[in-house]
Amino acid sequence: MRVLVVEDEPRLNEQLAASLEEAGYAVDRALDGERADFLARTERYDALLLDLGLPNVDGLTLLRRWRDAGIGVPVLVLTARGSWHETVQGIDGGADDYVAKPFRIEEVLARLRALIRRATGQTTPELRCGAIVLDPRSGKVTRADAPVRLTSHEYRVLSYLMHHRGRVISQAELTEHIYAQDFDRDSNTVEVFIARLRRKLGAETIETLRGLGYRMECER
């Protein structure tokens, strides 16, 4: 899962990004509205953390522009103004959820998980596919109740596939959702991660559809 953090206070932006990376997300950062606008329009994110009080272009204006342009990525708004009046404006402007500053990082992570879960049509906090269970809350993966150790990239690939169970995911789509923008992608190809995941979770877990992509098919 790939997330964009838009926050103009550099230190807070850094902290948020670090916490999100630790929780298994690929993270891009933007410190102002223009950069955020560019990234949101050119990259594929699974969710956005958006501070409303940005220099140049404020967050609410950005959000309205994106929604008008048909960019439907789930947006979690971070705001210093925690009033209900502003919340109404934010939600009407297209925000999906709200966190008022100062916040606890656990709160942000919990809401982000719920947001991605809702956006991908998941109903339970745990993602299950056959004997494999991925819990986004703890970032732990088990196979038949036995813990499986994954690298962060393997985790991201599995998490994306499991959030979109039953759907065919092209290699390009996977690539877009597991790497941060500034990451050197050549040395870490998707095929390598898929092969390693199959070794750890069982060859039958991830299907390859030649020329189309990958799919996790599970009986629910």
Binding site: E9, R11, L12, Q15, S19, G53, A80, R81, G82, S83, W84, H85, T87, V88, I91, D92, D96, D97, Y98, A100, K101, P102, F103, R104, I105, A114, R118
Partner: protein
């Protein structure tokens, strides 16, 4: 009252016109009266038609009264309009007045505008200060992940900021003249927001408020009060939340009901207990009712908790009607 265009707008000109018309009406009447007094001796003098003269004289008198009436009543009207401004029913002194008074009214309106802008600027500054502190506080909270004491102090600071900002804004709203907020608009917008924020809970919200019901105060404050009540109701409701509005004398009454577990009567009092201010309420109580009560009281309103007919909690908010 529409100004009579055929009469001069100036107070002085009207006084003069009134006096001349009145005198012009009075003179022939006096003349006739004297004639009647002496008619027995001078029958031959009376040659003109009495009736027409009397009618003409009365008409002149009437015109004189009309010319004077407007300047005099305009003062009473001005007083009524000023009272309306002070009560918050109007934001400006409206109407057209004789030119001397109009100049005064224009100055008064300019003063009101100026003062309103000053208040708005002061509130904006208070807001900037409050929100400027929030981001550093957020940083502090992340840095102090291992220290519950620091986290607790940050939480206290946040509450202090929210509490005093809400108060500053509400006090300024009282100073904002002619503020009027539709109950239905606010409730509908909040219901939309709640449905989104509590999407996973599957709660329905019914809003029943006549479009003419309005609160005499700012939208931000009504949103804050209703938002806290609705958020609370949505958190506890099983399936249903209702918002109903009615009028009771000079107050507009808003009831927010839910079908949740409700609150024990003894606890109801405690939640609204006097002296438990929002900034002193225990952290994590998360009830938001204290701020509702504070805001309602700034406007001379009230909040009460009761059992809802749906089974859960009923919060009754009473506010001045506009």
């Amino acid at each position: 009252m529409t100004p009579r265009r055929w009469l001069p707008r100036s107070f002085r000109a009207r006084l003069l016109a009134g006096a001349i018309l009145w005198t012009a009406g009075l003179l022939p009447l006096m003349h006739l009266l004297m004639m009647f007094a002496v008619r027995r001796r001078y029958h031959w003098v009376i040659t003109i038609d009495h009736h027409h003269l009397v009618i003409a004289a009365l008409l002149l008198l009437l015109c004189g009264v009309l010319a004077l009436r407007r300047p005099v009543t305009s003062l009473a009207e001005l007083r009524a309009r000023l009272a309306a401004v002070r009560d918050g029913r109007a934001s400006r002194v409206d109407g057209t007045y004789p030119s001397e008074i109009q100049a005064l009214v224009d100055e008064l309106n300019a003063l009101l505008t100026d003062r309103e802008q000053q208040v708005a600027r002061a509130v904006a500054k208070a807001g900037d200060l409050a929100h400027g502190l929030k981001t550093p506080l957020a940083l502090l909270l992340q840095e102090a992940e291992q220290s519950p004491q620091v986290a607790q102090q940050v939480e206290r600071m946040r509450r202090q900021i929210d509490y005093h900002l809400a108060h500053a804004r509400a006090a300024a709203s009282g100073a904002t003249l002619g503020a009027r907020t539709s109950i239905r608009d606010s409730a509908n917008a909040l219901a939309r927001t709640m449905l989104r924020l509590h999407a996973t809970r599957g709660v329905t919200i019914d809003v029943d408020a006549a479009p003419e019901y309005a609160f005499r105060g700012g939208r931000e404050d009504l949103d804050e009060m209703l938002g806290n009540l609705l958020d609370n109701a949505c958190k506890w409701a099983r399936t249903r939340v209702t918002v109903t509005s009615s009028l009771d004398g000079a107050q507009v009454v808003i009831e927010v009901d839910d079908d949740g577990p409700g609150i024990d009567p003894s606890l109801r009092d405690r939640v609204l207990q006097r002296g438990v201010r929002a900034d002193e309420a225990a952290p994590g109580s998360g009830f938001g009712l204290a701020i509702v009560r504070d805001l309602a009281e700034v406007y001379g309103g009230s909040i009460a908790l009761d059992r809802a007919s749906l089974g859960g909690l009923r919060a009754t908010l009473r506010l001045p009607s506009a």
